[in-house]
Symmetry: C2
Subunit: 276 residues, 2 copies
C-alpha cells in the first residue's frame, strides 16, 4: 500500500501554507475527503467531486474505483455511495443470496404484531427486514430496539421507537453492553422478535456473546417471544446459549426443519411458522 505512506506524509506537511497551488499529496487528500464526504451525504457524483477538487473526472473515477476496491465505498453509475448501514463490510455473496429468504421471514413475522402492542426487536439483518415490513404495513406499535437501522426504518412511520443505550458497535450498527441489558430489564413488552446464529434441539444460540445477553434479557421481559431464523442456521451452534426452547412462543423460518428439531419444538410447545 504505497498510498498509506504518502497519506501519513501528507498529514505532517499541513503547515499553514496558502490554500492555492499545493502540488503535493493531492491524491491521498482527495480520497480522504471523498470518504469524509460520504460519511455525511449518502451519495456523491463524479462530476461534483471533479469540480470540487478541480481535477478531471477521470481522476476522480480512478479514486472512486480504488476506494471501492478497498471496500470502503460502494460504486454507482455516475458516482459513489456509502456502504449499506449496519453491515459488516466482509460479506458479499451469502448475505445477498439470502436476502430473499430474510424478506419472507420478515414479512411473515411482521404480521404477528398487532396494532397497539409493545414489541422488542433485536438487531440483525433478518429482524431488520421484519422492521421494514412493520414500517411498510404502518403498524401502530411501540418498539424497543438496540439497532440503529431498525430505529431509523421504523421511526419515520407510524410506530413509536425507543432506543436502548449502550456501547455502539459499528459492525452491526447496534448498541451492546451492560447499559443495554439494564435498560431492557426496566421494560416489559407484549412480544419480542429476535434472531440467532444457530438453532438446535436445546434452543437458540448466538455467536456474539454481548448479543446473547441482550436477547436473553428481551426473552425475559416479553410475554411472547418469536425467533426469526433462516433454515440454513438449523443445527448450527454459537458459543453462547440464548435460552431454552420452551422460552420461545414460536419460530419463524423459511424451510421446514428436520425430524429431531421438529420433535424438540413440539415437546417445548413452540409453534413453528414456515414463511411461504
Amino acid at each position: 500500500m504505497p498510498n498509506l505512506r504518502i497519506l501519513s506524509g501528507s498529514d505532517t506537511e499541513t503547515t499553514g501554507a496558502p490554500d492555492v497551488a499545493r502540488p503535493k499529496v493531492r491524491k491521498a487528500e482527495r480520497r480522504k475527503q471523498i470518504l469524509l464526504e460520504l460519511k455525511l451525504r449518502p451519495h456523491v457524483r463524479i462530476g461534483d467531486l471533479a469540480e470540487l477538487f478541480g481535477v478531471s473526472g477521470e481522476t476522480i473515477r480512478r479514486d472512486v474505483e480504488a476506494l471501492s476496491g478497498d471496500g470502503l465505498i460502494s460504486r454507482a453509475h455516475g458516482g459513489a455511495s456509502a456502504l449499506v448501514h449496519g453491515r459488516y463490510p466482509a460479506f458479499n455473496e451469502r448475505a445477498v443470496a439470502r436476502i430473499e429468504e430474510r424478506e419472507r421471514i420478515g414479512r411473515c413475522a411482521a404480521a404477528l404484531v398487532e396494532p397497539g402492542e409493545t414489541v422488542m426487536i433485536d438487531s440483525g439483518s433478518t429482524t431488520l427486514q421484519c422492521a421494514r415490513f412493520l414500517a411498510f404495513n404502518g403498524t401502530d406499535c411501540t418498539v424497543v430496539t438496540n439497532s440503529l437501522p431498525i430505529a431509523m426504518a421504523l421511526g419515520s412511520g407510524a410506530a413509536e421507537v425507543i432506543l436502548c443505550p449502550g456501547d455502539y458497535l459499528s459492525a452491526e450498527a447496534a448498541v451492546v453492553g451492560v447499559e443495554t441489558v439494564d435498560f431492557i430489564e426496566r421494560h416489559s413488552v407484549d412480544r419480542c422478535l429476535i434472531g440467532a446464529s444457530g438453532l438446535g434441539a436445546e434452543g437458540p444460540t448466538e455467536a456474539v456473546r454481548g448479543f446473547a445477553a441482550i436477547k436473553r434479557a428481551m426473552l425475559r421481559q416479553s410475554a411472547q417471544a418469536h425467533l426469526l431464523i433462516g433454515g440454513d442456521k438449523f443445527g448450527k451452534r454459537g458459543l453462547a446459549r440464548v435460552g431454552a426452547m420452551a422460552h420461545l412462543s414460536s419460530v419463524v423460518t423459511d424451510t421446514a426443519p428436520d425430524e429431531a428439531l421438529s420433535a424438540a419444538l413440539a415437546a417445548a410447545g413452540t409453534e413453528l411458522v414456515v414463511a411461504p
Copy 2:
C-alpha cells in the same frame, strides 16, 4: 396532488387478495417500496428497481422524478439516493448554502478535542460536521451522544461511542426525552459540544423544547462546554433557554459577532473562536 388520493385509496383495498396479478394501485405501492428500499440502502439503480418490480425503466424514472419533486429522495444519474442523514426534509436552500460554514466550524471545534478525552456531542447538523472531522482526524476519544448519525460517523473510526437511550425522533435522527436526560446525568465528561437555534447576549436558546433539556444536561455534566453556532443565528431566539452565557467555555462560530454580543461574551469569560 392527485397521487395522494390514489395512495390513500390503495391502502383501503389491501384485502387479503392473492399476490399475483394485481393490476391496481401499482404506482403507490412501488413508490412506497422505493422509499423503503432507500431507508436501507443509500442508493438504488433505476435498472434494478425496474427489474425488481417487473416494469420498464421509464416507469421507475417517472416514480423517482415524482418522489424527488416531493423532496423525499435525491436524484442521481442512473438511480436515486437517500436524503442526507438526520435532516428534516423541509429544508432546501438555506441549509445547503450554509454547509460550507458548518464545515469550517466543525473542523475548528474538532481540533479542541484532545486524544483520550471524554466528550458529549449534541445532535444537530453543525455538530455532525464536527463529528465527521473527529472521525477524519482519528482522534482517540470516548463520545456520548444522542444522535444516530454522529454515532455512526464516529463509530467506524478510532473513537468509542456510547449512545443515549430515549424516544427516537426521526426528523432529527436523534433520541430525546427523560430517559435521555437521566442517562446523561449519570455520566461526566471533559467537554461537550452543543449546538443551538439562537445566541443572544443572555445565552444560547433552542427552538425544540426536548432538545433544550438535553443540552442543559450536557452543560451540567461537562468540565468545559463549547457552543458550535453559525453567525446567522446571532440575535435569534428559540423558545427555551439552554443556559447562561457563563456556562460556556467557548463559542465556535464562522463570523465575528457584533459589539453587544462580543461584550456579553467577554463579560461572561467565554472565549470566542472564529473559524478561518
